[in-house]
């Protein structure tokens, strides 16, 4: 795969800038559970574009940007109004607003702009490919020439400015935005009006949506607003890390997706595919990977934790059964040979026989103590009858609570509670 600046420089730059500002602002949508807002914005800018064109007859970038921005702000205001007056949940309010506005945009394009090159397809899929720079240099080193600056397409400028504004906004208002997102009531009571911050943020989201979608299309804008933030949510519990991760992921996915749209088809001797689409798919793949391998709630991490917990409980239950056997009760449950084997390997059960070692007896005594203390508690404090206390105590004994010393000497069945070790 060969990248040449005259072909790939500006598309990559546009994708990266769009990814950065959407990935950054999207965090606040995801954290405030307003993910659908990205969807709403990116769809409802369409009528804004068409109306701006109808009013001015121009397709110049500033006109389009303003029209779309007005539409974005209208969306925010309409959603708030419908939420308040229509008594519907936020998701429904956003769904109503953006679908109606989008439909209006489609109708207007058909009626008014039939003979122009406003095209619903471009709106959805974007036109990264239109940013090619036919007269540009063919070598990457020549890009550093000052003349390059003059050749930067307006879409890339708009994106760069939006990125800068978003970055400064989030940096300067970091603590205010965080409080307003976490606890709007407290923020407002303290004089940091949550609704004003919300509107400011939404205006920026509208700006970012508009700036980005001219280059990458509305589908990718939705993906970039939501998916990087959602991925970061799976990977961290810290706000700064969340912001850093989501922007990094967005940028990486943009580059990965763009390169993939060239490299993968060419490896199979097919023509290049739509870059925006492959970036969105790259984001989807990253999300899937994070879902499987996330450190905290990842599918794999959960499975591993569950595996070790099951193993520990089986071992604990075996030790407890052997302890009770020493007290004279028969062993009623059957334990897999591998549980015995593990207990012997850990030096808790004597090799070759079914008796506890000293270490094993100590651990079993602690466990039995937990069990019988819980039984005592359940019977005397929680009012559970003595013959029903064993089952819940069987679960509770495995909790890693600190073990109290002292206390009763006998459980409700009259069995001795092993003394606590100091």
């Amino acid at each position: 795969m060969n990248l040449a600046p005259n072909i790939d420089l500006f598309p990559i730059l546009a994708a990266v800038l769009a990814a950065f500002c959407c990935g950054l602002l999207g965090n606040y949508l995801v954290l405030r559970r307003l993910s659908l807002m990205g969807d709403a914005m990116s769809h409802s800018v369409l009528p804004g574009l068409v109306i701006a064109f109808m009013l001015t007859g121009s397709r110049a970038a500033p006109v389009m940007f303003l029209g779309a921005l007005m539409a974005g702000i209208t969306t925010v205001v309409l959603v708030e109004l419908i939420k308040r007056l229509g008594r519907v949940e936020p998701g429904a309010a956003m769904g109503v607003v953006f679908s109606v506005l989008f439909a209006l945009g489609v109708l207007l394009i058909e009626r008014v702009a039939r003979n122009t090159d406003l095209d619903a397809d471009c709106v959805l899929h974007g036109q990264l490919e239109s940013l090619f720079w036919p007269d540009g240099p063919a070598r990457w080193l020549d890009v550093l020439h000052p003349a390059t600056l003059a050749a930067v397409p307006p879409q890339v400028w708009t994106l760069a400015i939006t990125c800068a504004v978003s970055f400064v906004f989030v940096l300067v208002l970091y603590k205010e935005l965080r409080m307003a997102a976490f606890d709007p009531a407290l923020a407002t009571a303290q004089g940091f009006h949550a609704s004003i911050l919300h509107y400011a943020l939404m205006v920026l989201v509208a700006g970012a949506t508009v700036a980005a979608f001219e280059a990458v299309g509305s589908i990718l804008v939705i993906a970039m607003l939501i998916v990087p933030a959602a991925i970061a949510r799976l990977l961290t519990d810290r706000m700064p890390t969340q912001l850093l991760l989501s922007t990094t992921i967005a940028v990486v996915a943009a580059v990965m997706g763009y390169l993939g749209s060239i490299a993968l088809p060419s490896a199979m001797d097919k023509p290049q595919v739509n870059a925006a689409g492959s970036i969105a798919i790259a984001l989807g793949v990253l999300f899937f990977v994070a879902m499987l391998f996330g450190p905290r709630d990842g599918v794999l991490a959960t499975a591993i934790r569950r595996f070790y917990l099951t193993r520990r409980i089986a071992l604990d239950d075996l030790l407890a059964a052997l302890y009770r056997h020493e007290e004279g009760s028969p062993i009623t449950s059957r334990f897999a040979p591998k549980v015995y084997a593990r207990a012997r390997r850990s030096g808790l059960v004597m090799p070759g026989q079914d008796t506890l070692t000293e270490a094993g007896r100590q651990r079993a005594a602690e466990l039995i103590r937990r069990h019988r203390l819980w039984e005592t508690y359940l019977v005397h404090r929680a009012g559970i009858s003595a013959d029903h206390a064993h089952e819940p105590a069987e679960h509770l004994e495995h909790l890693a609570e600190p073990l109290p010393s002292g206390g009763p000497q006998h459980d409700p069945h009259g069995k001795a509670i092993p003394p606590g070790v100091e």
């Binding site: 409080m179 606890d183 009531a185 009571a189 303290q190």
Partner: protein, 277 residues
């Protein structure tokens, strides 16, 4: 301690002729009506909170207890009425009033630590745009220590128990170093240790000359924990020192018709009879 029983039977005077109230009262509410979607939730509320006292707001579900607080703080719009804190509008004394919302009102999976949340109590002092400095972090840490959570400061808040989360909220209010603490159901669903911590904290605050107004749902403990009570059911049923207003008659008026609650109330009054100093 100065006390005053508000006579709610009289029609509230119009705002023009209302008597100048004491600038000593941490919260004065005059003729406040609040409506959601044109359905009134609070009707003509008149109330003056006594200074340096612990006040319980008591009433059945839907009585408008939380709404009273939120409307006073300007978090929900008031249809009519005037609210003043120490004789001036809220916006001039924001830093003197700490608000503890209901625990369920926020998303506890939010990516912040306990210390981050407590630091939010100091944002007003820090001001717009400035980052949270070390001195403020130390102050927040001291507040976490006061509620016994210093060693959990860096835990993400979803890893705390319900009681611990409530204590984080209290620590955040303490971090504000306010003079009036307005709390919405701080005792709801907390463990015994947290309940003791909150009660002790409230007493400490009062001993330090501060006031607290607390929405409280447990009639059994009103007389034990609080000096004053505001019995509310859309209107103010009665307000004043607990031993004067916490009567079967008033409770009947507040909870009227709700039989199970009524018997609970009767029981509470019986207990109160034993506890009266």
């Amino acid at each position: 301690m100065t006390t005053s029983v508000v006579h709610t039977s009289r029609r509230p005077s119009s705002l023009a002729e209302r008597p100048e109230h004491s600038a000593d009262s941490p919260l004065s509410i005059h003729a406040m009506t609040v409506a959601y979607q044109r359905k009134p939730v609070l009707w003509d509320v008149d109330y003056d909170a006594p200074p340096r006292a612990l006040v319980a707001i008591v009433g059945p579900n839907g009585a408008g207890k939380s709404t009273l607080i939120k409307a006073a703080l300007g978090l929900v719009p008031r249809a009519t009425g005037l609210v003043e804190f120490w004789g001036v509008p809220f916006k001039h004394v924001r830093e003197r009033v700490a608000y503890v919302p209901q625990r369920e009102s926020v998303d506890w999976t939010f990516p912040v630590s306990a210390l981050d949340v407590v630091c939010m109590g100091r944002y007003r002092r820090i001001g717009w745009f400035r980052p949270v400095g070390q001195a403020h972090k130390r102050a927040a840490m001291a507040c976490l220590d006061r509620v016994g959570l210093a060693d959990l400061a860096h835990r993400q808040i979803s890893q705390l128990s319900g009681g611990q989360q409530q204590r984080v909220f209290l620590a955040r209010a303490l971090a504000q170093e306010a003079d009036l603490y307005i709390m919405d159901e701080p005792f709801a669903g907390v463990d015994a240790a947290t309940e003791r911590t909150i009660v002790q904290l409230l007493k400490d605050l009062r001993d330090a000359g501060k006031s607290a107004i607390v929405v409280h749902h447990d009639l059994q403990t009103v007389t034990q924990y609080f000096d004053h009570a505001l019995l509310l059911n859309m209107r103010v049923v009665a307000a004043g020192p607990v031993e004067q207003v916490f009567t079967p008659d008033n409770l009947q008026k507040t909870y009227g018709g709700r039989l199970t609650l009524l018997s609970e109330a009767a029981e509470a009054v019986a207990r109160a009879g034993i506890n009266v100093r």
